[in-house]
């Protein structure tokens, strides 16, 4: 199976990766003959970033669920794995999705570059390159050179580009390179208006394309001509005004312009990238808390992050012939943007373009219905309904096991949080009425009714589940739960709500 290595850089990288995980869990797949295994590599110096921690936990749960239930069940059907699982080397990494940036924790940038050991001319050059002010963890104003990097690069890509250059010499990069095959692809997620993402994207890209010059790694040829896609997220959210913070909304556009100008020569201008997706939103909505990183940086999920995750699906749908590369140069570089049908402040499925709606409406609705049933009705149905009593049984012991109680429940709880956060955000994405009856679950979709059609409630779901499961063979209770609900929710949403694949 070919692999897609995803470098998720910075807070936005983690959040887009989280959205991708939700989409993959719901069964969204690329329309392609090729199946890809996803290998996420999160790059963020800010280890206490809440968005990063939430994404890591989510990926861990996803991995456990798909390992236990298998990959042919609709939900959770794309394999996600950690880099360490691919390698048999003695320097095996821990089973984490996060890239371990060395010598960042608790150190000032000046210590990282060894400023005190530099001779006078180099020290003067460093002073020029890294002039200006920022803040430290204690909210005190400090010189840029004195920034402590364990809360990230605080919107300073000039620092980030130096620190992230260590990636090319890391064990992770060696493992990535030695496992990279001709059919594999790379995707880089970053934002352009902050520090980590803006610096990380061109740095990672350059390190991959310059693989031939890296003596530390194997698989150089494949890497140099790798099929590389990227989404660069332009400003898309509003942020509280705080004159003490180094993060200012007014700087977003200036930083974006500066980075785009750099990309013009070093990313797009030199055809380094095969497929580049731009996404932005100038809607001035609910401002985020102005947190440079010292309070954990936990931002609500946003529609733009989900749309960015769709770029990855689109990239996987792009045929190999459109992603040809020679000597590190894309032969037919592709540039794409994302749009919606209606400029709505609260996006519903009908506001999306047809392709996007077809891609996500059915699958997300299925997972929403699955979660709704499990959280609101499963305890009434367990050991009572025929589908639950059929072998392998979904019984009380099963729901007390870690798979259900921890992995699945926690994942679905995060899924609900993700939907609620997107719904509460402005611009919002609120295609579901999560607390309503099943019939009112999807905004703008009414249930088809007629003389002989029954209403859709939990009892009718039980009927459908028992009918669907009758006579079927499942390898385990966990596989049965996932597969049975995927098939049944698809049937209900098709026949009763008129949703299409």
């Amino acid at each position: 199976m070919a692999r897609l290595y995803i470098f998720a850089i910075g807070g936005t990288g983690s959040r887009v990766l989280k959205s991708l995980t939700m989409l993959l869990a719901s069964g969204v797949k690329p329309n392609s003959d090729k199946n890809f295994e996803i290998v996420p590599i999160i790059i963020d110096p800010h280890k206490s970033n809440e968005d990063l921690k939430r994404t890591e936990r989510l990926l861990g749960n996803y991995q456990t669920i798909s390992n236990e239930a298998g990959l042919d069940n609709g939900f959770f059907s794309t394999k996600i794995t950690t880099l360490d699982r691919l390698t048999t080397s003695q320097n095996r990494l821990s089973g984490s999705f996060t890239f371990n940036l060395q010598e960042v924790g608790g150190r000032k940038f000046s210590e990282y570059i060894g400023l005190s050991q530099l001779d006078k001319p180099n020290k003067a050059l460093a002073d020029i390159l890294f002039s200006g002010k920022s803040i430290n963890k204690r909210h005190e104003e400090v010189n840029l050179l004195d920034v402590e990097m364990d809360i990230g690069f605080v919107g300073n890509p000039n620092i980030g580009s130096i620190v992230l250059n260590q990636v090319k010499d890391s064990q992770e990069f060696k493992d990535f390179a030695s496992n990279f095959n001709e059919d594999d692809r790379v995707f880089i997620i970053s934002s352009i208006f902050g520090g980590t993402g803006a610096a990380g994207f061109p740095t990672i890209l350059k390190n991959i394309r310059d693989a031939m010059n890296n003596r530390n790694i194997d698989g150089k040829g494949f890497l140099q001509d790798a099929k590389i896609g990227a989404v660069t997220v332009l400003p898309y959210f509003n942020i509280e005004k705080d004159s003490d913070s180094p993060i200012q909304k007014s700087d977003f556009i200036a930083k974006t312009k500066a980075a785009l100008y750099y990309y013009k020569d070093n990313v797009t201008g030199n055809n380094s990238i095969n497929s580049l997706y731009y996404i932005a939103d100038n809607y001035s909505g609910k401002p985020y808390k102005n947190d440079p990183g010292d309070n954990g940086q936990k931002n609500d999920a946003h529609f733009v992050e989900m749309a960015s995750a769709l770029a990855i699906i689109d990239f996987l749908e792009t045929p190999d012939s459109d992603l040809e590369t020679s000597e590190g140069k894309a032969l037919k570089p592709i540039y794409k943007e994302f749009g919606i049908r209606k400029d709505s402040s609260n996006i519903k499925f009908s506001d999306l373009e047809d392709y996007t709606e077809r891609k996500i409406a059915m699958r997300l609705s299925q997972l929403v219905l699955f979660r709704k049933y499990l959280t609101e009705h499963l305890s009434n149905a367990i050991e009572k309904e025929a589908w639950s009593n059929d072998s392998p049984e979904i019984n009380k012991k099963f729901i007390d096991d870690t798979f259900y109680r921890t992995n699945l429940s926690e994942f679905l709880s995060s899924f609900a949080d993700w939907l609620k956060e997107m719904s509460d955000n402005k611009r919002g994405f609120s295609p579901f009425n999560l607390d309503s009856t099943i019939e009112a679950l999807i905004e703008g979709r009414s249930v088809k009714s007629g003389w002989f059609s029954s209403k859709v409630d939990f009892s009718s779901m039980d009927n459908k589940l028992s009918k669907e499961g009758k006579g079927k063979t499942y390898s385990s209770a966990s596989q049965k739960l996932i597969k049975l609900f995927y098939d049944t929710t698809e049937e209900i949403l098709t026949s009763k709500f008129g949703l299409k694949n």
């Binding site: 050991e383 009572k384 309904e385 025929a386 009593n389």
Partner: protein, 154 residues
């Protein structure tokens, strides 16, 4: 079949819930011109009716309604109660009407208590039959939502 049903209702002679006169009447005892079992054999009539009623209500619950809203053990007991009541009424009312109208052999001494006893016998056997049909895996498992419904679960 006559003897089969008679044995059932008379509890194989062990402890019938009604008198032997009622047993004779149900076998069709007549004494107008001559004595003998020439009349209607109520054991066969009521026996088959009991089977038909029980089978119908079994099919109604397990194959016609066959719904998750009606598949718990208390639903089984509701259905069992309906079957018991109907079969009791059937077996009680037929001899009771005969007793009330006096349209039976004058040599026989039939009482309302006999009618109740026969009604109870029929009710008990209908319950046993329903219990048996729904205890075996088949034909119960030909249903969809009720295929695990028995008197003790779910």
């Amino acid at each position: 079949m006559e003897e089969f049903f008679a044995s059932l209702y008379e509890w194989f002679g062990l402890n019938p819930l009604y008198s032997t006169d009622m047993g004779d009447h149900l076998r069709g005892w007549m004494c107008i011109d001559q004595s003998g079992y020439f009349g209607t054999n109520w054991y066969i009539m009521i026996g088959w009716s009991m089977i038909a009623i029980t089978a119908f209500f079994y099919a109604l619950q397990y194959h016609i309604i066959d719904d998750s809203r009606f598949n718990k053990k208390h639903h089984w007991w509701v259905m069992a109660l309906i079957i018991i009541v109907l079969n009791f009424l059937l077996a009680f009312l037929i001899p009771f009407n005969t007793v009330q109208s006096g349209d039976f052999c004058s040599e026989l001494n039939l009482t309302v208590a006999d009618c109740i006893g026969f009604g109870l016998s029929n009710a008990v056997w209908s319950f046993v039959l329903f219990l048996l049909i729904t205890s075996f895996k088949y034909p119960r498992h030909l249903g969809t939502n009720t295929r695990f419904t028995t008197f003790w679960k779910p």
